[in-house]
C-alpha cells in the first residue's frame, strides 16, 4: 500500500491518509496517558515553555522565553543568526539544561527533559546539520526511528523469537511506508553517507516521522537545499501535519516559506521573544522589521549546532 503522495495531493489521498492516521492513533492507545490530550474544547498545548533562560558563560542565549504549541499546529520560530533558536530546540530535546524555566510536554513538567525518554514522550527531531548514521543504508536509518518502541531485548532478538520478528516486521513496514511517502524508494538500500544533501534531509525527516510522533521539532529542514527541493520539502512538512497528525515546531530562515507554511510564528532576537502571532500580524510588526532589516546589532555568529 505505497500511495505516492505527490505535492498536489488530491482530496482522496488526503482523506485516505487522515482516516488511516486516525486508525493508527487508536492503535497507539497503549502510549503513556500524557498523549491522550485530545479533549474537547481548547486543546491542551502539546508543548509549553515557561520563562526558559539559558546562558553560555555570561552570554544570555535565551532570556525568559514563553511559548505554546497547540495540537496539530505548524509553529514557526524565526530570528536572525544567534537569536537562540537552536538552543531552544536543544532545551526541548534535553540536550541543554535551562538555567531557569520549565518545559511542559503535554501534561508532564520537566526542568531538564530526559533525552533518552524523549522519543517515548512522542517527540522526534531533526538536526540543523544532519545527524544521519552514515554507515547504515537509508531503510535502516529510518527503522532507527522506531527504536524506542522495541521491547524485545538482545537475547530475544538473537533467538529471533516470534515477538522479536513481529517487532522487526512492524518497524520495517512503517519505514517502508514513510519512505514511499517521501519518495525515497529509489535510494532505500544505499548508504546514507553517500547521498546528495537534499535527499539526506528527506531521509532525516522520514526517520523523525516513522513513529508518528505527536510533536515534531524541525531544525532548519530547508537550509542549504535547492529551490525545487525546498518546495517539495515544504509540502512534505505540511503533509506530515495533515497525514500524520503531528504538531510541528519549525525553525527556518526562509521567511517566504515560513509565512506560507505556518499557523503561528514566534520571532526571537537576542534570546528574547519580540513577537508572536499569525503570519500577517508578524509581517507588519515593527519590532520584527527592525530586527531583520533595520537596526543592525553587532551579533555573534550563530552558535549551537
Amino acid at each position: 500500500m505505497s500511495l505516492v503522495a505527490t505535492t498536489g495531493a488530491g482530496a482522496i489521498i488526503l482523506a485516505r491518509t487522515q482516516e488511516r492516521a486516525a486508525a493508527v492513533r487508536e492503535a497507539d492507545a497503549a502510549r503513556p496517558a500524557a498523549e491522550a490530550t485530545l479533549v474537547a474544547g481548547v486543546a491542551e498545548p502539546v508543548l509549553r515553555l515557561e520563562s526558559v533562560c539559558l546562558s553560555f558563560g555570561g552570554i544570555a542565549a535565551l532570556d525568559g522565553i514563553d511559548l505554546t504549541v497547540r495540537q496539530g499546529e505548524i509553529r514557526a520560530i524565526i530570528g536572525p543568526n544567534g537569536a537562540g533558536k537552536s538552543s531552544l530546540l536543544n532545551i526541548v530535546s534535553g540536550l541543554y539544561r535551562p538555567d531557569r524555566g520549565v518545559v511542559w510536554l503535554a501534561r508532564e513538567r520537566f526542568t531538564h527533559v530526559p533525552t533518552t525518554r524523549l522519543a517515548a514522550h512522542g517527540v522526534a527531531r531533526t538536526f540543523q546539520n544532519l545527524a544521519l548514521f552514515k554507515g547504515l543504508p537509508v531503510l535502516d536509518n529510518v527503522i532507527m526511528g522506531f527504536v524506542h518502541r522495541r521491547s524485545a531485548g538482545f537475547v530475544r532478538q538473537m533467538l529471533s523469537t516470534r515477538e522479536a520478528r513481529r517487532e522487526e516486521a512492524e518497524a520495517r513496514a512503517a519505514a517502508e511506508e514513510v519512505i514511499s511517502f517521501l519518495h525515497l524508494g529509489s535510494v532505500k538500500h544505499r548508504l546514507a553517507g553517500g547521498l546528495p544533501y537534499g535527499i539526506q534531509k528527506r531521509v532525516e525527516l522520514a526517520r523523525a516521522l516513522v513513529a508518528r510522533p505527536p510533536l515534531l521539532l524541525l531544525d532548519e529542514p530547508l537550509a542549504g537545499v535547492t529551490l525545487g527541493e525546498k518546495q517539495e520539502l515544504a509540502a512534505h512538512v505540511r503533509n506530515a501535519r495533515d497525514a500524520y497528525g503531528a504538531s510541528i515546531v519549525l525553525i527556518e530562515h526562509d521567511i517566504g516559506v515560513v509565512m506560507g507554511l505556518s499557523d503561528r510564528i514566534a520571532v526571537l532576537d537576542y534570546g528574547r521573544k519580540i513577537a508572536d502571532g499569525t503570519p500577517e500580524e508578524v509581517r507588519s510588526d515593527q519590532a520584527v522589521i527592525d530586527a531583520y532589516l533595520g537596526v543592525t546589532h553587532e551579533g555573534e555568529t550563530e552558535r549551537g549546532i
Binding site: 540536550l95 524523549l118 548514521f133 554507515g135 527504536v147 522487526e168
Partner: protein, 353 residues
C-alpha cells in the same frame, strides 16, 4: 573514536552467496586432506583463532566505535576460564566449557567496558589497558587459575564434542574452523538485528542515537560483552587448538596491538576485513621470513633478516594506510568491482559486508 570513520564497505546486508560457499567447500573438503601438518598447525589454526579475535574486536571498534587495547587480556580470560571449567566441573562437556568461558569473558569485558560510559577516543583506549595489565597480573598471581602449577602454565584438555575427539593437526583445524564458522554466522545474524543497527548508530552519531531513544548504556556494554565473548572463544582456540600449553605472558600488549592492527589493516566494520587482516598479520611475516631465509639465508644471520623484516612490515602497514585508509577490504572490493565490471554480471549496488 571521536570522529566517525568514512566507512563505505560497512554494509551489513548479506554478501553475495557465491564467494563464501566456495570458501567453505575448500576449507572443509580440500584443505584437511591436501594441507600439510605445518600448514594446518602453524598457519591455518592460528589464523582462525586470531581471525575470530579480530572479528570480535571489529564488532566493538569497527561497528560500535569503542576502541579497546585490552583484547589480549580477554583472550587470556577465555583460555583460563575454559581450562578451569573443564578441570573442575567434571560432568560438563568441553563444548559447555567453551560456551561458559565465552560468557565469563563477556562478563569481564562488560566490567572493563564501564569506563566507556564516560570516556571516548584515546582516553577510553588507554583505560582498557587497565584490563590488559590487571588480568595478566591476576592470572600469574593466583595459583588457583592455573591449578596451582608453580609457574602458571596450563596444558590443553581434550577437544571433544559430543563424543568426537578432535586430535592431530587436522582435528584441531576442523574444530577451530567449525567454531569460527558458527561464530561468524552468529555475528552476521547479530549485525542484521536491531542491536546491530544500534551499534552503528552509536558509532556514527551518538547524540542522534540518544535522541531516538537508543539505550546507550546497554548498547555500549552489550558491544563490550559480545566482543569479549567472541575474543574469549578465540582465546580458547588459541590456547588449546593451537599452542596447547599457554602462559599469561603470551597474552601481552603486543598481542592486543596485533589484533587492533588486523581490523585496521583489514578494514573496520567489515567481517571479511577482520579475516583479511588476520591473514595479513599471520601469514605475511612467515612468508617474508621464509623468503628472506631462502634468498639471503647465507648472507645475513637470522637476526639481521628479522630486523629487516620488521622494517618491511612497518613500512607496509604505513603504505597500506596511505593507499587505502579504509583497509584491505576496500582495496579488494575496488579491484573486484573493476574486474567484475568487465564481466556481464554487474555487481549489485547494495554494499557487501
Amino acid at each position: 573514536m571521536t570522529r566517525p570513520v568514512r566507512s563505505i564497505a560497512t554494509g551489513w546486508l548479506s554478501a553475495p552467496h557465491f564467494a563464501p560457499a566456495v570458501l567453505l567447500i575448500v576449507a572443509y573438503g580440500v584443505v584437511p586432506f591436501a594441507g600439510s601438518d605445518y600448514l594446518l598447525d602453524a598457519v591455518l589454526t592460528p589464523f582462525l583463532a586470531l581471525g575470530l579475535a579480530a572479528l570480535g574486536l571489529n564488532l566493538l571498534t569497527g561497528y560500535a566505535g569503542q576502541v579497546s587495547l585490552g583484547s589480549a587480556a580477554f583472550l587470556a580470560v577465555g583460555a583460563y576460564a575454559a581450562y578451569n571449567f573443564n578441570l573442575r566441573l567434571h560432568g560438563v562437556s568441553f563444548l559447555m566449557s567453551l560456551m561458559a568461558a565465552g560468557l565469563v569473558t563477556a562478563a569481564v569485558g562488560i566490567i572493563f567496558g564501564l569506563p566507556s560510559l564516560r570516556l571516548r577516543g584515546f582516553y577510553l583506549a588507554v583505560s582498557t589497558l587497565a584490563a590488559q595489565f590487571f588480568v595478566q597480573w591476576a592470572l600469574t598471581k593466583f595459583g588457583w587459575f592455573s591449578n596451582n602449577n608453580p609457574s602458571g602454565v596450563i596444558d590443553a584438555p581434550q577437544l571433544t564434542v559430543a563424543g568426537i575427539i578432535f586430535t592431530g593437526a587436522v582435528g584441531r583445524y576442523l574444530f577451530s574452523l567449525t567454531v569460527v564458522v558458527i561464530a561468524t554466522l552468529f555475528a552476521i545474524h547479530l549485525l542484521r538485528s536491531q542491536v546491530g543497527r544500534n551499534f552503528i548508530a552509536l558509532r556514527d552519531h551518538e547524540t542522534a542515537a540518544k535522541v531516538l531513544g537508543v539505550p546507550l548504556l546497554r548498547t555500549k556494554l552489550l558491544a563490550f560483552g559480545v566482543s569479549s565473548f567472541f575474543i574469549g572463544i578465540a582465546g580458547v582456540l588459541w590456547a588449546f587448538a593451537y599452542l596447547r600449553t599457554v602462559e599469561p605472558a603470551g597474552f601481552n600488549l603486543d598481542r592486543s596491538f596485533e589484533i587492533l592492527f588486523m581490523i585496521i589493516i583489514g578494514g573496520l566494520a567489515s567481517i571479511r576485513g577482520a579475516f583479511l587482516g588476520a591473514a595479513f598479520i599471520v601469514v605475511f611475516p612467515l612468508l617474508l621470513s621464509r623468503l628472506g631465509a631462502a634468498l639471503l639465508g647465507n648472507v645475513f644471520d637470522s637476526g639481521v633478516l628479522e630486523m629487516s623484516q620488521r622494517i618491511v612490515i612497518g613500512a607496509l602497514i604505513i603504505g597500506l594506510l596511505i593507499a587505502e585508509p579504509r583497509g584491505l577490504i576496500a582495496l579488494v572490493d575496488r579491484l573486484a568491482e573493476r574486474v567484475l565490471r568487465r564481466s556481464p554480471r554487474p555487481l549489485p549496488r547494495s554494499p557487501q559486508f
